[in-house]
């Protein structure tokens, strides 16, 4: 049986890689994909704790996180398409009309 700590460390590493993607990438689609990666790392934590505590609640939470992630991806990509029509770019640094 694999100890719980191994899963926690792995999910922390995956989460941090997602954070790095959000911080350093300049392509908004890759940033959205990094957010998905972070959500998935958190899901792994939930499943590991669910198995370790012997309760199904963690798996149900993961079910809801997946629903929210699907909605987030759909809305995010629709916004990307709308922004690309106006600006012809995927660089978030170029989308700064509200910044002064």
């Amino acid at each position: 049986m694999v100890p719980l700590d191994y899963y926690l460390i792995l999910s922390a590493v995956l989460f941090v890689i997602g954070v790095a993607g959000v911080v350093i990438r300049r392509n908004i689609i890759v940033i959205l994909m990094s957010v998905e990666l972070m959500l998935n790392a958190v899901n792994l934590t939930f499943i590991a704790f669910s198995r370790s505590l012997g309760t199904m609640d963690g798996q149900v939470i993961v079910f809801f996180v997946m629903t929210v992630a699907a909605a987030e991806a759909v809305i995010g990509l629709a916004i990307v398409i709308a922004a690309f029509r106006h600006r012809q770019t995927l660089d978030p640094q170029e989308m700064q009309l509200l910044k002064w």
Binding site: L14, I24, N43, Q59, M66, T67
Partner: protein, 165 residues
């Protein structure tokens, strides 16, 4: 070292490699493919944790539906230009992320874990029956709210992606 631990290290190591490829690759399509591989490997980890139903859902919903949506948008927008690799910024961002890792790991390991260690799961743990029982008895209201959320997401996507916005 038992076979379960070896499997964990192989799958986990591959997951880390592919997720690094997601972030540090300049071609967007290659990033998406690496993300598909990562999601598959995490689904395998779910299977090793007695969460078969959630693992299958992960492959169907994430690696299937959501990633197809991402690839569809990439092909629709066709961003041919590769983004520049600015070394100072990439180094700084990676360093900040590493700092976050050294903050997170002790926090996770020192947290209030299960007092009795690994409890053995009962028969049928993680099966669709148990998930459905939990979902439809204890979490009925969140389930209904999730369906409303999906409806709102559908309408929002249709409105946002309309041509004359």
């Amino acid at each position: 070292m038992t076979s379960a631990v070896i499997l964990f290290f192989v799958v986990g190591g591959l997951a880390i490699v592919f997720s690094l490829l997601v972030v540090f690759q300049r071609n967007v399509v290659h990033s998406a493919m690496a993300l598909v591989a990562t999601l598959f490997l995490v689904a395998v980890l779910f299977l090793t944790l007695d969460a078969a139903m959630v693992g299958i859902l992960q492959i169907l919903v994430y690696a299937g539906a959501i990633m197809v949506l991402f690839l569809f948008v990439i092909m629709l927008l066709n961003p041919a230009v590769l983004e520049g690799r600015r070394l100072a910024w990439w180094g700084l961002g990676s360093l900040a992320a590493l700092l976050l890792l050294f903050e997170l790991v002790p926090l996770l390991l020192d947290g209030p874990g299960p007092a009795s260690g690994q409890r053995s799961a009962g028969a049928g743990f993680g099966s669709p029956e148990m998930l459905a029982q939990s979902l439809f008895y204890d979490f009925v209201l969140p389930f209904e709210i999730a369906s409303v959320l999906l409806l709102v997401a559908i309408i929002g996507a249709v409105v946002l992606a309309k041509r004359e916005l």
